[in-house]
């Protein structure tokens, strides 16, 4: 596939990197020479210096043979125009990053209609807000992903030292509900566990189960779910606004702290039930007056990673149960999570993920999810009649290492597979893959992308 990426910022770079790994031809258009040079030196791609919204530059990049255009510059209008032009050159798929909510409709399908020529409109702030809202619904999880029309849930959980399952062999965990621990992340390494592996305190596990049974499984794992009610948000930018709007609809009590007075007025006019506070969140008195210690979840969304970290530590110290922080530099996430922030969220990674999910969504692949800062992937696809994996018991399959079958979704029923289960054509299955084995696994599964 020939892909043109316009804008070589963090998101453009991430997408280019992953697409190159997947053996696609990537051409990047970037107007800044310095940035273009860095890109050329670090990735095996073609870089063109110029304006991506110009049709001559697009022609130079070979727009006529391109299958996909991803426009992710900092400027909304450039992205929109580039995609509209690309459609005129009959490019199959176009993706544009659009941040300003004024250009968007609430419903993505409608956005497609109001912005002709753009197949996927991606709004990083909205994506981030939705992701955080998901985490607030399941506050104990580090990550939540849904499969099979929402009936299957994948949680990323941290095993505490007091958990009843700590220091036990996985094969000894006898729960009454089907579940599967697809992976353990320990000491910076992702591994697919076997029955004779032990769960240790501070392990981060990825667990799959039926969505409606997950609460009970969590209780057995010692990560009890406590329903959050009060959410405090620091920073009333676009992300804070979207998050408050989503949480309001779900009946959470939301407080936003924002230091710009005019932005406060604007938020107060636009939001219905959110309490908007004008002030500086590093002011401990303000946090006390607004009883930050009673907040179930405190979300830091300023653009400043240091401030997010500092405020998270302050409120954690005051007694807030859980903190979620936006982290601009994704390499800091694991460090920040080790000093006190419960969950670090990188908007850029999320955006890149969302775009990749759209790109990969072809033929029979339903979704691709990058997990734990790209250290693993979850594939969801429909099994074809000519696949090697059908009609024999799972234990008899020669499943490649570095991958594990997670769940089967058949006729609206969820199956958490065991050795005796059989995959049939038409099943929707999820497979957990480590990145280095990905191509081999894809080949084995005969999944077309």
């Amino acid at each position: 596939m020939r892909v043109i990426i316009i804008g070589a910022g963090k998101i453009g770079f991430n997408i280019a990197k992953i697409l190159v790994q997947e053996k696609h031809d990537v051409i990047v258009i970037e107007k800044d020479e310095e940035r273009a040079k860095i890109l050329m030196e670090s990735l095996d791609i073609q870089v063109i210096i110029g304006n991506g919204a110009s049709s001559s530059v697009l022609r130079e990049a070979g727009i006529n043979e391109a299958n996909l255009v991803v426009a992710v510059t900092e400027i909304d209008e450039v992205n929109m125009i580039a995609c509209m032009l690309a459609k005129n050159f009959s490019v199959d798929k176009t993706v544009a990053r659009v941040r300003n909510p004024e250009y968007l409709e609430d419903n993505p399908e409608q956005s497609k209609r109001v912005l002709p020529g753009i197949d996927l409109v991606i709004n990083p702030e909205l994506v981030t807000a939705k992701e955080i809202a998901k985490l607030i619904d399941v506050p104990e999880a580090l990550d939540v992903v849904y499969y099979g029309n929402g009936k299957i849930q994948l949680l990323e959980l941290k095993i505490t030292a007091e958990a009843p399952v700590a220091n036990k062999y996985i094969k000894d965990l006898k729960f009454n509900y089907p579940y599967l621990i697809v992976s353990i992340f320990r000491a910076g390494k992702m591994m697919i566990p076997r029955g004779d592996d032990k769960l240790l305190a501070n392990d981060i596990i990825f667990i799959l189960a039926k969505t409606k049974e997950m609460i009970r499984i969590e209780r057995l794992l010692g990560t009890e779910r406590e329903k959050a009610e009060r959410v405090m948000v620091l920073g009333g930018g676009f992300t804070g606004y979207h998050l408050a709007r989503i949480l309001e609809e779900r009946k959470y009590k939301v407080t936003i702290i924002e230091k710009d007075y005019n932005r406060c007025l604007d938020l107060s006019n636009k939001l219905q039930n959110t309490l908007v506070i004008h002030g500086d969140a590093t002011d401990i008195d303000l946090l006390k007056t607004e009883s930050a210690e009673d907040a179930d979840i405190f979300v830091c969304l300023t653009d400043d990673d240091k401030l997010n970290l500092l405020v998270s530590l302050i409120v954690k110290n005051l007694g807030t149960k859980r903190t979620i922080a936006q982290v601009r530099r994704s390499d800091y996430i694991s460090l920040m999570q080790s000093v006190g922030i419960d969950v670090g969220i990188s908007p850029r990674t999320l955006t890149a993920n969302a775009i990749l999910r759209f790109i990969n969504k072809g033929n029979n692949v339903l979704s691709v999810t990058l997990l734990s800062n790209e250290s693993a992937e979850m594939l969801e696809f429909i099994v074809q009649p000519d696949s090697k994996i059908i009609n024999s018991k799972l234990r008899e399959l020669n499943f490649p290492s570095g991958a594990i079958l997670g769940s089967i979704f058949r006729k609206n029923q969820v199956i958490i597979p065991k050795g005796d289960d059989v995959i049939l054509p038409g099943d929707m299955v999820t497979v957990f893959v480590l990145p280095k084995n990905k191509l081999r696994v894809l080949e084995y599964l005969n999944v077309e992308k």
């Binding site: 006019n269 219905q272 303000l286």
Partner: protein, 481 residues
Amino acid sequence: MNYSKIAAALGGVLMAIGVSMVLPLIWSLYYGEHDWTTFLLCSVGTTFIGAIAYKSNNLEGSLNNKEALAVVSFSWIEASVFGAIPYLLSGTFTSFADALFETMSGFTTTGASVLTDVEVLTHGILFWRSLTHWLGGMGIIVLFVAILSTLGVGGMQMFRAEAPGPVTEKLKPRISETAKILWYTYLALTIAETLLLFVFGMPLFDALCHTFGTLATGGFSTKNASIGFYGNPLIHWVIILFTFLAGANFALHYQAFRGRSLKYFWRNAEFKLYTLIVLFSIALISIDLLSRVALPFETILRQASFQVISLITTTGYATADFNEWSLFSKALLVILMFIGGCSGSTSGAIKVGRILVLVKQSILELKQSLHPRAILSPKIDGKSITKEVLINIQEFFFIYIVIVGISVVIMAFLGLDLVSAFTAVAATLGNVGPGLAKVGPTQNYSFISDVGKYYLSFLMLLGRLELYTVLVLFLPSFWRK
């Protein structure tokens, strides 16, 4: 200020009044009554004077804000003065104070009367009395704006100065089209109610007069016993329904009709509160009545509903002498007189929309003391209310209460007892009509001195034009060049 433009506009309004006098003339001729000459004379005379004023002056170009306000206030005064002439010429009244009071009460849809016996009046006079309600209900200026599409921005200013409620919404890009739509909606409801009343056994003449009285939330009847005269409970229920509708925003009626859906009503916070207040009051008064009088449940429910809706919409029709009800029920009814119907309705008083904003703002003030650094903005239907509108509403409420206070003292000075004085002021300023005690539903305002009648007429005008439009004329700077 361009006096020529004002005179032209006033002339235009006067012509409309003159032409409308043809309607009582027709009824007068139909019933073969002697006073048809009165209406012929008044109609021709009024139209002629209006035409001279209109033709000899020039209404070209737009009216500015000051001119628009002056036109609105003086239109109402001239309409009441000229509208009083038929009463004087036909001999219904001998004193000008009485005639002016009755006409002002008609145009402002108050429904307070100085007549002890209306059943002796001719059909022409009765029809004119009810017609003043109908014209004043949707508004003579709104009618004028609808007819004269060339007023432009000045039309918008005039429209805003007359239309009830804190915010005036445009249904169409052009103000003249908006005014037309409102009048058509009003006309459609008028036809519907007249037909229903006629079907349920009211003679056509009475049906028309009472429809005018209900939809304008006026209150003039053709019978001494008001609606109580008619025994058919269905007639009462029809009037209850239409009074309730007249107390709602006419823009909502239009939107619901155009969208063929009732959801427009339920989405409107003001309408919801209005409905809630009405239902709650009906429930309370029904319970109160049940414990005191031995009447069938339907009768009690009907009486409670009728009186509650009649008073909250500031109509003033009665099917029961609520002056005889318990203190509790009376107190509740008096509070309703202050609340009034919705913005954009034909009702008077403070309006539910303003109450809603005040309540929300009060709650926010309490919240503010808990969160000193919070930025709070009151919202209605998801839209926030601007600072200007908020201050305007708070001021309105303050001035309203101040005027009630001063006026009660004045009426007491003129010899009324406290309950009569207080309710007479509330009933005229709120365009309700009947009050309690000496001005109760079976009484009338004839015993009050001429000075008192002029003063109450002034209150009616103040209430109908929602204070500001009239009060601004008392600012010296208004008249300065």
